[in-house]
């Protein structure tokens, strides 16, 4: 049934049916991809969905916090974010738009806060598979599959002390900006790594990313860029906030 739906969607794409567009979001067509983690021998199908073209900015997030006091730096509960939550905002003056609101991606936000923001926007966080699938797209006008690896490597090996605004690295062929090279991004199931029908528990998977076992669990041991991304996610917990971790939202496409 699921497969049938995917085929239907692909067919509808081929026949020129346009997916609904939304402001600052672009449709990601249905498809499938081979995830980085072994255990899933078959490709994973991803249904069509909408994805924010850029990350959520400090300006966007300030608007959210002002409208939802419980997510402000002063009121946030420790359960939902650690003590570094929004630490880059001026401590007693974060309401001051001239100091806080800018077009850089918001960082130092927990998964809980990111999730709440997306809900407030009537959206949701993208799933890991959705994010990974959308991120596979090459830069606009590029045919070189190495280009994504290069973007990642130059990001890892250069220390960007100055923060950059959204939309400053590259636009991919879906019209989505900066999937790599600007900040890391939260996904809805960041700590699941494999789909729920896999019997292995999360503990085992997480510990599979050290030492020798790291090379056993990956489908392509030479894919260092994916190794880095998955081990990064593996180091996170829902209330963690860090200086290089932001997010963007997604939305399912309603069927009528």
């Amino acid at each position: 049934m699921q497969n049938f739906k995917v085929i239907l969607l692909i067919c509808s794409l081929l026949t020129g049916l346009n997916l609904p567009a939304q402001e600052n979001m672009k449709p990601i067509p249905a498809g499938s991809y081979k995830p980085f983690i072994k255990g899933l021998t078959e490709k994973v199908a991803v249904e069509a969905f909408l994805l924010d073209t850029v990350q959520v900015t400090n300006q966007d997030f300030l608007e959210f916090v002002k409208a939802n006091e419980q997510w402000s730096p002063d009121k946030i509960k420790a359960l939902f974010a650690d003590s570094a939550y929004l630490i880059h905002w001026p401590k007693n003056d974060w309401q001051n738009e001239s100091k806080t609101a800018n077009q850089e991606p918001v960082v130092n936000v927990s998964w809980f806060a990111a999730n709440a923001y997306c809900k407030w926007k009537n959206k949701r966080l993208p799933s890991l598979h959705e994010w990974e699938f959308a991120a596979l797209a090459l830069p606009m006008n590029s045919l070189d599959s190495n280009e994504l690896t290069q973007i990642n490597h130059s990001w890892y090996s250069r220390k960007n002390s100055t923060r950059q605004p959204i939309g400053s690295v590259y636009e991919n062929q879906y019209g989505i900006w900066d999937m790599f090279g600007l900040v890391w991004e939260w996904v809805y199931d960041f700590n699941s790594v494999v789909s729920s029908n896999d019997s292995r528990n999360k503990e085992e998977i997480a510990s599979g990313f050290f030492c020798g076992s790291a090379s056993l669990n990956a489908s392509d041991a030479s894919d260092y860029v994916s190794f880095i991304r998955y081990s990064y996610r593996g180091s996170l917990k829902g209330n963690y906030t860090t200086r290089k971790l932001g997010f963007r939202c997604a939305k399912s496409i309603e069927e009528n």
Partner: protein, 481 residues
């Protein structure tokens, strides 16, 4: 018959138990249930320094705080690299504890870092050497404790996937678990760790270099270095000792790929703690240090001079940077070494000029024209690499053997500014500043650009009338030939 067999078995069992008892008595076994008394904070040092021995009795709680910092630093002159470090330098901080100590380890991942990290200490008895207990996102700290059960010199490294990349970027160091009674006293202890770097450009290519994954897979490093960068402990930064003093080197090999054939040019290791363990070998010239392994060597410096610590896979030493130096100062001891007693020219191969390399600059290479200042800077380095051995640092050569370059009438009289000498070599009798020389200079294989820099340096630094030699001049000279 049966009884005889039985007796034989008893005898063998007895023998085995005696042998195993003897083996045990050589090593100290720690009882982890023994009570831990007192607390000290470990003093950590950057290479080549080693922290002093912890003075307390053993079974102390030792608190170690180690901060992971990703930072851009010098890999070689004019070459920068983004290192991932344990404690802000490569190799990471040296940690010194004693057998039986309880080590309370605090690992901190600096909030400005991009990546998660952890630590695998080979001195730990436990899953992943602590790696599983210490995976931390940027801006987080992890704490775990371990009992130092085995003595020895151990490597620690980051074990976050992709492990190879974390190690290749500088994440390794040494932890010494000193035996209960302490290592015997010596006059100096130093910390030297070898490792390789895989860069997007070739050895010496200027500017910021990225990590090159393919070269790492192929185990084809551009740099093999001692203590984290080319020349980290050479020249002004060499380790210093006096004649007659004893030296202990704590040696490590971070890898990630190569095995080190560790050798000290001009010294014999009196004692080697093989692979950093309890087996002691004597009178060793070269000792192997596995990737992710160590060795401790000891020797006495009998005569003055400079000891070159190298990987005797020797191209790594002279072409990729794997050299550190110990300068031994003091009085000569001619009973041990006389120095040069006599020198004369010996040319069994006849008078044909020997070329250092037949490789010449491809004619279609991109021409680089540098400013006068850039030529001088590049020229100085090239001079030191190619000319200094004969013409000496001061450019005065060696009277009667190698002609001077300082205010050289011979050089100044040449219309080609000396280009032909560098490219083709020179042989036969010449007169320089009134003195006769009859020797052979081999042709030096350098690019047009390099020849231009070297000659600009010689014309300006050695008082030959100054001026700028351009790469185009060298190219023109080649084409005219």
């Amino acid at each position: 018959m049966k009884t005889k067999n039985f007796l034989n078995i008893i005898f063998i069992l007895l023998l085995v138990s005696i042998i195993s008892c003897n083996q045990k008595s050589e090593r100290t076994i720690v009882d982890p249930d023994e009570e831990v008394k007192g607390v000290v904070h470990a003093e950590l040092t950057d290479a080549p320094l080693v922290p002093p021995r912890i003075p307390n009795k053993s079974n102390t709680k030792v608190i170690v705080n180690l901060e992971i910092i990703e930072k851009e630093m010098r890999l070689a002159d004019g070459v920068d690299y983004t290192f991932w470090t344990f404690g802000g330098s490569v190799p990471g901080k040296f940690i010194r504890v004693r057998q039986g100590d309880l080590v309370e380890f605090h690992l901190h991942n600096h909030p400005d870092n991009l990546l998660p990290h952890n630590i695998d200490l080979h001195a730990v008895t436990g899953p992943g050497g602590g790696a599983e207990a210490s995976l931390i996102a940027p801006g987080k700290s992890a704490q775990f404790s371990f009992r130092a059960l085995n003595q020895g010199l151990y490597v620690y490294h980051c074990a976050t996937a992709p492990v190879g990349m974390h190690i290749a970027n500088g994440m390794y160091g040494l932890i010494l678990v000193e035996p209960l009674e302490g290592l015997p006293p010596v006059d100096h202890e130093f910390y030297v760790m070898q490792s390789e770097f895989y860069t997007s450009g070739n050895y010496g290519d200027r500017g910021h270099q990225d990590f090159d994954m393919q070269k790492a897979f192929d185990e084809r490093p551009d740099y093999v270095v001692m203590n984290g960068s080319v020349g980290a402990n050479t020249g002004e930064n060499a380790m210093m000792v006096q004649v007659g003093e004893t030296v202990r080197l704590f040696l490590g090999n971070g890898g990630p790929n190569l095995v080190s054939s560790f050798h000290a040019i001009g010294e014999i290791f009196d004692k080697v703690y093989v692979e950093g363990g309890t087996l002691i070998n004597h009178d060793v010239q070269t000792t192997l240090i596995p990737a992710g392994g160590s060795a401790i060597v000891e020797f006495k410096c009998e005569v003055p001079g400079t000891l070159h610590l190298v990987d005797h896979s020797i191209f790594r030493a002279f072409n990729k940077g794997a050299i550190a130096q110990i300068k031994v100062v003091g009085d000569e001891n001619h009973q041990v070494f006389t120095g040069l007693e006599k020198e004369e020219v010996y040319l069994p191969e006849g008078t044909a000029i020997q070329k250092i390399s037949k490789k010449t600059e491809p004619s279609d290479a991109v021409m680089i024209e540098l400013s006068h200042e850039e030529r001088m800077e590049a020229g100085e380095k090239l001079y030191k690499q190619n000319c200094l051995a004969c013409h000496m640092d001061h450019g005065k050569g060696i009277p009667g053997t190698f002609p001077p370059l300082v205010n050289s009438d011979f050089l100044q009289a040449r219309a080609d500014k000396g280009i032909g000498i560098v490219l083709e070599g020179l042989q036969g009798e010449i007169t320089v500043n009134g003195e006769k020389y009859n020797n052979i200079m081999p042709a030096v294989s350098l690019s047009d650009d390099q020849v231009a820099s070297i000659l600009t340096y010689i014309h300006n630094n050695f008082d030959n009338g100054g001026g700028l030699v351009k790469a185009a001049d060298v190219k023109a000279w080649r084409e005219q030939k």
